[in-house]
Symmetry: C2
């Protein structure tokens, strides 16, 4: 648990923040050096629980996590998926009580950073406070985009849209290649994210595969026809507020959007 171990994984955090905000060398260095306690989580284990009053934020170093809410009778809504590099509970900096849980969807490594260390780094590097704030705002923008899906898109459009979004987000941290990425979620998880039943997700996925829009051999998702998938989803990446549009892992450079 020394401060500088896991440097490669820590770079994902920098890469992630830099995809949304310009960072100078001192800021990158400060981020890399953040003291963090590294912990492993098994598939299905919670990193943070609703009702908790965390004193730290967690950075995903590897693996995959989601944020979810439960109703009393067990109905579950997944509110967000988080590839490595994300800080799923950054909000706990200013909201004392967690109103949802963060769960690992595969074996996952997370770094826990005391809130006081975040406050220290933002007072030493004032622009970082805006970078972190901005992260939470992008978070909210993605919630809004998901709300449109939940409220107004058909099942086919929802699933297509989710796949488009995940490609860009994996690509932003260098975890997509050839429009292919590892999405370690079950059809049941997709259902809980998109407000559908697992049975219906299964049937829609079959449609998308039959139409050769995607292939999905767990956990590898490949987008076979980006243009048609994007059109079906009516996908407009503006809500992700990325500084630059996707590189080789997503769309070819120079492609129209």
């Amino acid at each position: 648990m020394t401060r500088l171990d896991r440097t490669p994984e820590r770079q994902l955090l920098v890469r992630r923040l830099a995809s949304a905000t310009i960072l100078d060398e001192a800021e990158r260095e400060a981020l890399i050096s953040l003291p963090m306690l590294v912990r492993d989580f098994a598939d299905g284990q919670d990193l943070v629980r609703g009702g908790d009053r965390p004193q730290h934020c967690c950075v995903l170093l590897s693996g995959f996590a989601c944020r979810y809410l439960l109703l009393a009778d067990g109905r579950r809504q997944i509110a967000a998926f988080h590839p490595p590099g994300d800080i799923p509970d950054l909000q706990s900096l200013h909201l004392q009580v967690m109103d949802h849980s963060v769960g690992a969807m595969m074996p996952t490594v997370a770094g826990f950073i005391q809130h006081e260390h975040v406050h220290r780094i933002t007072s030493q590097h004032p622009r970082l406070i805006h970078a972190f704030w901005r992260e939470t705002l992008i978070d909210a923008a993605i919630f809004r985009a998901w709300m449109v899906g939940l409220g107004r898109r058909t099942a086919h459009e929802r699933i297509a849209h989710l796949i488009c979004e995940m490609l860009l987000r994996f690509d932003a941290v260098g975890l997509a290649e050839n429009r292919t990425f590892r999405l370690p979620v079950t059809q049941n998880d997709i259902a809980d994210a998109l407000g559908l039943s697992n049975v219906h997700v299964n049937r829609v996925l079959q449609d998308l595969r039959r139409d050769e829009l995607i292939s999905w051999q767990r956990p590898d998702v490949a987008i076979l026809d980006w243009d048609r998938l994007r059109d079906l989803a009516m996908f407009d990446p503006a809500y992700l507020h990325m500084r630059s549009l996707p590189g080789a892992g997503a769309a070819e450079p120079g492609e129209e959007h």
Copy 2:
């Protein structure tokens, strides 16, 4: 447009922020004195448009607004309702391009504050940056709560939940009394907020009235049986992250939650 006009309306902003964050006298004074350009909007008019790159934030001084997203074919999703006192586009501080629009749902007065003035006040009163950040985080928490509704609640539960939430939010700025408040929205708007059709909203509202849970004579909503409505909605106000639980306008003091 002098700086100190509309003081009563400006107090709503302070009241709103203070419902979530403790403010001292200097901070309140600084908020009240924020230079703002006051503008009137007609019912249906947009305060901010998706695609805009605003240089200011807007405070609702009176009226009612919503944030909405449109799909290419006209489908609309309302992502948030905003009673007076709210700053619906606070995110524009750090996200350059609006990914949605803000529209007035009745004749509305809004105060526009240049971003630079917000930055100035937060550097003079550093705790205010946390208050504003916190506002955007609560915003996101409400999005998550709506996502649960859109994805996993029945139509009856969604509508009941929305009414519970609006009562508490109106009450927080002193605009509810006797569990009654003015909600100037059409059934069509409710439908677009909750992912339903206007016809179905109409039928569900009839059920809720028949069961004497609420009365709704536009624009006045009265909650007739808080306990049953809360139970139907499975409403837990934790996600609103209010400092104190509702006063006389909402639940009686001392009532269990």
